[in-house]
Amino acid sequence: MARTTAPVPNGNLKIQLNGNNFKNENCKKNGYHNKAQKNSTAHSAGPPSSRQRFQRPESFENPPMYVAVMTYLGFGIVTLFGYFRDFLRAVGLEKCHIAREREEQKDFVPLYQDFENFYTRNLYMRVRDNWNRPICSLPGPVFDVMERVSPDYNWTFSLTGKTIDNVINMGSYNYLGFAENDGDFLKTVADRTQQYGLGVCSTRQEMGNLAIHEELEQLVATFLGVESSMIFGMGFATNSMNIPALVGKGCLILSDELNHTSLILGARLSGATIWVFKHNNMQSLERLLREAVCSGQPRTHRPWRKVLIMVEGIYSMEGSVVRLPDIVALKKKYKAYLYLDEAHSIGAVGPTGRGVTELFGLDPSDIDVMMGTFTKSFGAAGGYIAGKKELVDSLRSHSHSAVYASAMSPPVTEQILRAMKCIMGLDGTTVGQARVHQLAENTRYFRSRLQEMGFIIYGNDDSPVVPILLYMPGKVVAFSRAMLKRKIGVVVVGFPATPITEARARFCLSAAHTKAMLDQVLFDLNELGDDLCLKFSRRKYSPRPQQHNNNDDTDFELDS
């Protein structure tokens, strides 16, 4: 299979494999891991295997060599054309659509450097109809996309007023299907709107601390099984406005290379030193931890004040699940703190939807800072930070968000309360749990069918985020447009959101997807995969009765 001599086009692939190797060896060799296992046996009532689960197989298959070559070639051609068009524009042979500076300000220092926008102007512009597609309905399992036309190759769009109805939604992060508009479900939200209005017009510390905010904070803490929690009005800002309250100068942040922008921004604003470790690679992390503790700060060699490891539960572009048991063991050994961003995993994984800690059967108190958002699984907006009471108390007085940013909107708060109660079964139904199970089932079904068809998909078998690798820029665009023609809304991403050779389509599964919908998507994918030659995988996928939880795939990985 992947025993190819193809030069790995990007370090990323190799890293993944290393990570896998490491995990398997690790269990045998490294003392700390065994220790962790022993600990868990000591504390748990049940047999160790049921208490602590290990990582499901995670695959990152290398494409054939010709794919990498063609991808670079594709970008090369497009870039050449870009220069050619720039030349034509410069000599006035091609009409220039770019917005211009005002006449009065022509002699100012240009707001943008010309080369900065080369990629936008020449590449993104031509294909930008694949993003920002406006919709005019609920972002549920199906939605209505507003039809757009462009007379000038996407420089301007106009809406035709027509809609493409009932497009199957494979793009929204509606994991548990709480993006819904059923009157009965939303009754409490409507009541709250009627009672409170929409905004709060103040910050939490001034006059915006509503009783329902505190109610939600208690519920979040109970849901996660921690002492206390605090909620914030925007998920992105939860990271960027709270990390500076936790670490500062003289502290070290160890950040996964694929962390979300909000984490990176928060880390940067904190003033702490940032070291980046390879994605989900425990060897890389441990090397940095050792280095940090043994040599202290650069130049002065003062010991670091504290070390904070920042990871995400599920990485939204890779579909990989963090190696939490290993990281917890490392953080305990090196006395670091752990910041876990569960934006995509809370509600979406774990037998009862409690996120990655539950997926691995870990004690939530082992995670120092549990962060998550309400945008995805809960169909609302905002984020939370949960953990020990001291942590939350400190945030309540030092968080930038508590002092300077508006508190959470009451109807949004109510939606989260409603969704969370539903997942916890506090509404007296099993609807929430049924959805968690449905999502897990949909995930397994969809992933295994795609593998059968021969697509290269990334990520963990448990992850409802499923990236299908498309590699070549031309195919990305053709794929997205053809899927929309077949009434399936997909998200495609390429450079700069991914490494240049690894453009992909991302499918987000939802509990609200019915089997019929998934089958429709799979049918179209299969056809399109053949038409566009997207089935790059050279693995033999044989459906086995135990295919979903065996470890054979991992051995497969080791061979590569």
Binding site: R133, S137, M207
Partner: protein, 480 residues
């Protein structure tokens, strides 16, 4: 080489030369090799460092383990006392509208930035409910990935029309608006001139931009011009660098920290004189200043095209959530790919966008409300003048004033405690006020402690009289 006898007959100089080189030719090979090595050795000695670098003493595994064992990090968060002043928030039960229940007591609200009373507006609520029935609550995605709803497009369109600009872009959180907009344009190496009183989200945006920041004294145009002149001299020295260094002036329309207005016409003059772009943050002035509530540009009659970017939040006068930037498409459109808070965050819940649209509808239909608000502001400003021991900070038409102590006790903590007692005294008597909160250690220029007094159009004459007399009594009782 010829033989020495022959040469001796010829030119004398060349003879000497050959004589000198003769031994080289005759020397045995081992000699040459040895000398060659010696020469290489000398070269090496010449170029190598004369001192030894500190001996690389790699730690042994055992030593490393010991170090790891010994290292004790600081606790993740510093320990805090339970009665820390910023820990125990006032609890609001029920809606934070004109009548507000704070800590179980019904009060008249002089604390929420609900200037136009839209929080409790039936039309706004109905519009939001209609949207809720259609779209649900969340958008479950960023704008790029099916998080763009027709409501968002409509709101952007309406905001652009309302402000009479080419384009507007909405963010899902007020704080993130200017904090994302600044680093979208101003990069490392660029220069930003900022007013000292700039609000916290501007400070965070500047920090994220990693630009070179120059603070000028609050509303002091001479100080700003001094800095601009300094920069001009600097530029003449290095014209090549100056050609690619972008410059920005970032000011607030109505300062949240000082409740006064920036001298916009003067700023525009400076803009063209020194070729600097102006970014204007209007969170406090949007929907407040100007005949039609368009903010400080309308207030001064400045052409809005002369301002490169205007940013405001929709969490104050509009009483929803979120923020927006507006200006020319040339400027604004860039944020759709570069504004971090725009690209990487879920979009604004449609019902909040719908509420903002309805608020804009009301603002357009009934510009009277801005005049009413101005009247109320003047009234409050005047009524507060007579309180002993405290001074009113801010313009007469500013809807969010500050009450500061006339004489500071010298310690910030004591000042804050005194002001807090005034707030508590008023809360007791059904007037809801709040301290202006800051993160003391994070602010670049920490404003003096103050009580915020917010004016809304819902406050009646009696309410204002009651509040003013209450503050007067409190000041008399506590500050004497």
């Amino acid at each position: 080489m010829g033989s020495p006898q022959v040469v001796r007959v010829g030119n004398n100089t060349s003879a000497r030369l050959i004589l000198n080189t003769w031994p080289l030719v005759c020397a045995p090979a081992y000699h040459l090799v040895l000398e060659g090595i010696l020469i290489l050795w000398i070269i090496r000695l010449l170029f190598s460092k004369t001192y030894k670098l500190q001996e690389r003493s790699d730690l042994t595994e055992k030593e490393k383990e010991d170090l790891i064992e010994e290292w004790q990090p600081e606790p993740l968060v510093p320990p805090m006392s339970k009665d820390h002043p910023s820990l125990n928030y006032d609890i609001v039960t029920g809606p934070p509208s004109h009548k507000i229940i704070v800590n179980g007591k019904e009060c008249i609200n002089f604390a929420s930035f609900n200037f136009l009373g839209f929080l409790d507006n039936e039309r706004v609520k109905q519009k939001a409910l209609t949207s809720l029935r259609r779209y649900g609550v969340g958008t479950c995605g960023p704008r790029g990935f099916y998080g763009t709803f027709d409501v968002h497009l409509e709101l952007e369109d309406r905001l652009a029309k309302f402000m009479k600009t080419e384009e507007a872009i909405i963010y899902s959180y007020g704080f993130a608006t200017i904090a994302s907009a600044i680093p979208a344009y101003s990069k490392r190496g660029d220069i930003v001139f900022v007013d000292e009183a700039a609000c916290f989200s501007i400070q965070k945006g500047l920090q994220a931009s990693r630009s070179f920041i120059k603070y000028f004294k609050h509303n002091d145009m001479e100080d700003l011009e001094r800095l601009l002149k300094e920069q001009e001299i600097e530029d003449q020295r290095n014209p090549r660098k100056a050609r690619v260094t972008r410059r920005f002036i970032i000011v607030e329309g109505l300062y949240i920290n000082t409740a006064d207005v920036c001298p916009l016409p003067d700023l525009v003059k400076l803009k063209y004189k020194y070729k600097v772009r102006i970014f204007l943050e209007e969170s406090m002035s949007f929907g407040v200043l100007g005949e039609h509530g368009r903010g400080v540009t309308e207030h001064f009659g400045v052409n809005i095209d002369d301002i490169d970017l205007i940013s405001a939040n929709m969490e104050n006068a509009v009483a929803s959530i979120g923020g927006f930037c507006c200006g020319r498409s040339f400027v604004i459109d860039h944020q759709r790919l570069s504004g971090q808070g725009y690209c990487f965050s879920a979009s604004l819940p449609p019902m909040l966008a719908a509420a903002a649209i309805e608020a804009l509808n009301i603002m357009e239909e009934d510009p009277e409300i801005f005049a009413i608000l101005r009247e109320k502001c003047k009234h409050v400003h005047k009524a507060l003048q007579e309180s002993p021991g405290v001074k009113v900070i801010g313009e007469a038409y500013a809807p969010a004033l500050h009450l500061q102590l006339e004489r500071s006790s010298g310690s910030r903590d004591t000042d804050v405690k005194m002001l807090r007692s005034i707030v508590d005294y008023c809360l007791e008597r059904q007037i809801a006020l709040t301290l202006a909160r800051y993160l003391d250690k994070e602010e670049r220029f920490l404003p003096p402690p103050s009580i915020r007094v917010v004016v809304t159009i819902e406050q009646t004459e009696e309410d204002i009289e009651k509040a003013a007399s209450c503050i007067r009594e409190a000041a008399l009782a506590i500050l004497k």
